[in-house]
Symmetry: C2
Subunit: 137 residues, 2 copies
Amino acid sequence: MLSKKTKYGIKALTYLAKQENKTPVQIATISKSENISLKFLESILLTLRKNGVLGSKKGKGGGYYLLKDPSEIQMTSIMRILEGPISMVPCVSLNFYEKCDDCPDENACAVHNLMLEVRDSTLQIFRNTSLADLCKC
Amino acid sequence: MLSKKTKYGIKALTYLAKQENKTPVQIATISKSENISLKFLESILLTLRKNGVLGSKKGKGGGYYLLKDPSEIQMTSIMRILEGPISMVPCVSLNFYEKCDDCPDENACAVHNLMLEVRDSTLQIFRNTSLADLCKC
DNA sequence: ATTTTACCCTACTTAATTAATAGGGTATGC
DNA sequence: GCATACCCTATTAATTAAGTAGGGTAAAAT
């Protein structure tokens, strides 16, 4: 299941991407528009800022803004920052690999090979989808 | 993330599918072979039996066995029984649909549409993969 | 008939994670 | 210098995952 953190994060990002100009948007504005708890959203946007997706400005007229063009923000990076691994099992993860305790041979493991297929197809979607693509809905 | 329940369940099913004859296999045998906690595996196999995937026989010489041919057991049904929804958000689920609290219009929701794509591609893999296919590894 | 085998079932527990909430601190602009 | 709006840490309630405990029951072997 996708966490609310990721869901809210993506919604906030599309909100920012839809802005005409690049002036900062306040957390409270996004919070109200997207029905997201203000404090929870605050921590999510902070995470995105720390990972180089967003910039921020303090004080009056401050807020958050995208650091790159929406077309250059891939869903793979957003998912990895907010949700963590894209694969369903650590043993097929590219960025968060971990060996299974119970499994002596990965290549002979049915679960491994099935989840490898799932990861590949999911990854392909995330790689081919940018924030700009999401805004077309 | 895939739960251990599902992972162990799939491993146990492939173990049963690989049997030459259709004589029942004891829980303890699978438990040892696949490095799965006996009691945990017991509850998993019970779930699979209650959902019509496995049959069981009590007493000496008893155990669990597949009710259908491995080629007729789709991964979609196994995933739904053990893991639950295949989609990452309830609002794109075919079998476990739920409306989002925060979202006024699903069709305009970026997360919804992205996860719809992911669900479709994942579903296609699970539909095209049978237990027999898993055993080919 | 009795014993052994092996599944059947309920309840409990521990740890981790999620989704917040609380409560201040700090930089910025007017 | 004061209001604004982000920055940061800590705490918490609820849920789920992953087992663990302990006994019950049906079937087969003796």
